[in-house]
Symmetry: C2
Subunit: 229 residues, 2 copies
DNA sequence: TTTTGTGAACTAGTTCACAGCT
DNA sequence: AGCTGTGAACTAGTTCACAAAA
């Protein structure tokens, strides 16, 4: 237990500061949150780390450690109150407010992502698409997300308070578009284009590389065939 | 050097068996391969682990270790021959043949993925889309991938030799569709639906969770705001 | 009794540093 | 001289195991 920070020279918000939490941990927090939403919907009031761990293939201590980085949310002998823990996780993950997202590239992928229901959950709002093709600008996605000229990014990002950009442009222009995103003051970017991109310090880039994912499956299949011991 | 497996009771293919290679390693192999393609295109004949490491933010020893799991591909004093290493990596990753892919779900995301150029590289071929909506079956994607009835999955997967499935259906039906995929004999699955899915042993499931990715960015932004020490 | 929170032990992954080959 | 391949050292992440709280 580490209640009471007497003596410690950092009052802050006690925990919450979480300077050195690994991304593996925060990713798991998202997973826990999703499960808590389901549990709350099902009317479950309280859940133990063991019961939670069972749902994913995870160790219960892992879950307790993950949560302990941010505070003491559990009750010994009982577990975690679903509603409480959910509220804490939403706050830790910064989901207790609306976060506006822009999608760069109104091609197949960009348009699909703009209307993807998973993106609309938990406080995210897709506010705008950006493209450089004259004929796309002024149109909108099937779900009604407007397509703007990429040159208006800075202006619109400021006006709409866009905090996150998603890169869904072809390989060749990804770095260039990323530079525009960074210049417009956006600090968090989810990238779907393949290949290495450079961002300055203070900007978080998270990449989803579909080619790597597919090739990882290919490797698995190839192994299965060679492994004829 | 570990040439000559005298004494060892496993002649096999010497290396290549690679029983315990981490997924982190194989993911990096994909990244190296992409870079080698670019280098070959640029006419570069040979590359050192240092020069490769520089491109991504990686340690050179990391690259040498990753490659060493599968054999000795380098030449001391020289580095790696680009063409040679590329060929080896393609073989290790199982990309030295055509791999056919089916996409489950002809919604926005499924259709976008079907025509995604990144998927068409390196020997992958999107052979078919599957959906359960009467009005979609018989149509095709803009790029010409035919949409079949999901009930014909087994038949078509066998006929076309489909080895990989991509799950792009709504959350609610993901597990059900995955079960059909597994029943049809497909052993490798790339999943885009959120939430935990169960697969039997011997089937590889790789999930890309867009919600988790976005929430990870949200966490980063929230930290930046709180970290006002 | 149940279940948390957490130090200690363990396991996995990365980087160092250098012998040995070209 | 240059660069690989790899044990040894180190760092990060996970699991164990148990005291303390409800």
């Amino acid at each position: 237990m580490k209640t009471s920070n007497k003596g410690s020279a950092k009052p802050k918000t006690d925990k919450q500061t979480a300077d050195q939490v690994s991304e593996l941990t925060t990713n798991r927090l998202s997973v826990y949150l999703r499960s808590l939403n389901a549990l709350e919907g099902a009317g479950v009031r309280t859940i133990s780390s063991h019961a939670l761990a069972e749902q994913f293939q995870l160790n219960a201590a892992q879950i307790r450690k993950d949560l302990a980085y941010f505070g003491e949310f559990g009750v010994r002998g009982v577990g975690y109150y679903v509603r409480d823990l959910k509220r804490h996780l939403r706050q830790i993950l910064g989901l207790d407010r609306k976060l506006r997202v822009a999608i760069m590239g109104a091609g197949n992928l960009g348009l699909a992502l703009a209307d993807y229901p998973g993106f609309r959950q938990e406080g995210f709002e897709i506010s705008a698409l950006f493209d450089n093709l004259r004929e796309k600008v002024g149109q909108q996605s099937r779900g009604g997300v407007p397509i703007h000229d990429i040159h208006d990014l800075k202006k619109i990002a400021r006006r709409e308070g866009i905090r996150i950009a998603v890169i869904a442009v072809p390989q060749g222009s990804a770095q260039q578009v990323l530079n525009l995103v960074v210049a417009s003051g956006i600090k968090a970017v989810l990238n779907f284009s393949p290949g290495a991109l450079q961002v300055p310090d203070g900007v978080k880039l998270k990449s989803v590389d579909l080619t790597v994912s597919l090739e990882s499956l290919s490797f698995f299949l190839a192994q299965g065939e060679t492994r004829g011991d």
